[in-house]
Amino acid sequence: MRVSVFKWRSLLTPTLSRHLGLALAAFIVLLVLSSQIGAYDDYNLAAIAIFVIATTGLNLLTGVNGQLSLGHGALMAVGAYSTSLLLRGHDLPLILVLPASLTAAALVGAVFGVAAARLRGPYLAGATLALAVGLPQIATRYSHVFGGEEGLTVAPQVAPAWLGADFPPERWIAWIAIAAALITMVLLGNLLQSSVGRRFKAVRDHEAAAALAGINVARTQVVAFVVSAACAGLAGSLFAYWSGLTAPSGFGVALSLQLVSAIVIGGLGSLSGAVWGSIVLVFVPALTGGMASSLNLPSAVGNNLPLLIYGAVLVVAMLLVPYGIDGGLRRLFALARARWAGAASNHKGVVDWDDPAGG
């Protein structure tokens, strides 16, 4: 038996202090920012942070480890339902509910991950898609537990009194979500830099070679699935607090597909890609949402215009920025650097398109 695939110490590599410093700085900047914007923008900020948690985890699985999941929405549902069930009749603190929901999703992820490790490419896509379609239906079937189609309501988190009576609850959930997102990013960022992260990539790039190098491919894939599911569970738990209701219709196939499109649009395999993707995921609908009633169009046209725009954004993004926003920015920076360095060195600044994740 070789070394254990997952070491807790790998979460605490030397780069930790650098990442922690960055995260702390980001946290302070975001707190200041969130205090300057309106409550609705705070609410969107919270949504972005929650999606960042889910998409970072998914990006680890799909971008870094090469396993496509079209079912992460269902794993978010596991986290959200755990939260709603824990809070049903109990007034448990968030600090207990979040880890418990995360663990529940990780367990489901472990079970499914074992199955997933046997599957490749479209077969994995199909199995995870079936998970996205099938799992929420359990809530309808066992409605006495899960509340059926109406779902389970979750009381919003109230800001502590020392923040003042006027402190908007939207800002408080945004702060919680931002903190959770930054912690997730720091931990996963360190994981990527560690030997575990390198194994993830090795398995993605060439399974046979990875196996020859002594990596237990199946176990690496299961670990990636579990970490990723834990992120989805954490995101799902916060999602329940954020939206106020956990119902099957909130966790349809569309959510899973949105998560995948977010990491591809943002940039596969990079932490910042997950952030960009989440911003697109929240802002495109928010910006186009009012068109139905504000533009003076026939209702059939106005009603569907935002959907049309969203679909067109996906198509155009894939055609114009194939490596996502993150890849596009890297290319821009590289071009700028090349220009800065002058024409002397022609090859400088050429981006390695095939590995936008590296670096």
């Binding site: 599957l119 077969y123 199909g126 359990i138 499109s261 059939a300 679909g311 996906l314």
Partner: protein, 292 residues
């Protein structure tokens, strides 16, 4: 017993639609290694075009042919204009691209044809047949559905196994570089593969519309179960697609009938996982593992 017969016949009809959708997905997969998530939406759109033709006075069979023709064109255009440019990009890009096409079509359809639920006529009676004094829960249109899916499958089999064109299409999909050296116009073959697959998809749309009713998302469910069927049978195998689609049809019908309709999708999940655990590349996978 009566109930078993009803559920079996229902599974057969539904299954043949899933088989057609699975067949379309498998053809595209074999041609370009793409899972076309827009397949259902494309079929929805061509069925709306058929309805539009009907409402403007076209006879049923003309509208039928128009939909299939538009399916051919739509498949070719999507491949040539949208899919080809992302061919050498990361494989997930084309998945997202087809999702984008799906959303665009589902938004365009209500814009062009109105957002209400519509009915769509069937070619033959949808009332169960009478055999002498016996009434069977299987209609003339169900029979037509089943026969047309079988005929299409037979034609495709002939095309791929017995014709020069079919051989070139297979070669282009299997080994583009060598095919190019042999003078096969690979690009054109791949476009043709998409176009033919979309005709099969359009057929599925036309056949299921009378019993599902026509609205922008009516093919979503068919796509999911068709995809599940294709995976179940093995994405590389057209006969596997038909078998997988039929298995899905029967399984969903029995689960819905005996355990409750709210368990159908859960049943689909369990069956799929169970099969894939035993045969990770589908029931009829025979080919050596291809590294994707």
């Amino acid at each position: 017993m009566q109930r078993f017969v009803v559920l079996t016949l229902n599974g057969l009809t539904e299954g043949s639609i899933y088989a057609a959708m699975a067949l379309a997905l498998v053809m595209i997969w074999r041609a370009t290694q793409v899972v076309n998530f827009a397949q259902g939406a494309m079929a929805m759109f061509t069925t709306y075009l058929a309805l539009f033709s009907l409402e403007n006075g076209a006879p049923y069979w003309l509208a039928f042919v128009i939909a299939l023709g538009c399916g051919f064109a739509l498949g070719a255009v999507v491949e040539r204009v949208l899919v080809r440019p992302v061919e050498n990009k990361p494989p997930l890009n084309v998945v997202i691209l087809t999702l984008g096409v799906l959303l665009v079509l589902e938004a365009l359809a209500p814009m062009l044809f109105g957002g209400q639920i519509r009915s769509f006529p069937a070619a033959f009676s949808i009332v169960g047949l009478r055999l002498g004094s016996l009434q069977v829960p299987f209609s003339g249109f169900d029979l037509f559905t089943l026969v047309s899916v079988l005929v299409v499958m037979g034609l495709l089999l002939l095309l791929f196994q017995r014709t020069d064109l079919g051989l070139r299409m297979r070669a282009a999909a299997f080994n583009p570089e060598v095919s190019r050296l042999l003078g096969i116009r690979v690009g054109r073959m791949l476009t043709l593969g998409w176009a033919l697959a979309s005709v099969v998809g359009a057929l599925a749309g036309l056949l299921i519309a009378p019993s599902l009713l026509l609205y922008p998302t009516y093919m979503d469910q068919v796509l999911v179960f068709g995809f599940t069927g294709a995976i179940l049978g093995g994405l590389d195998s057209p006969p596997g697609a038909v078998v997988g689609g039929l298995v899905m049809g029967f399984a969903l019908s029995y689960v819905g009938g005996y355990l409750g309709s709210d368990l159908e999708t859960v049943g689909a999940l369990v069956i799929l996982i169970a099969v894939l655990m035993v045969r990770p590349r589908g029931l009829l996978a025979w080919r050596a593992q291809r590294v994707v």
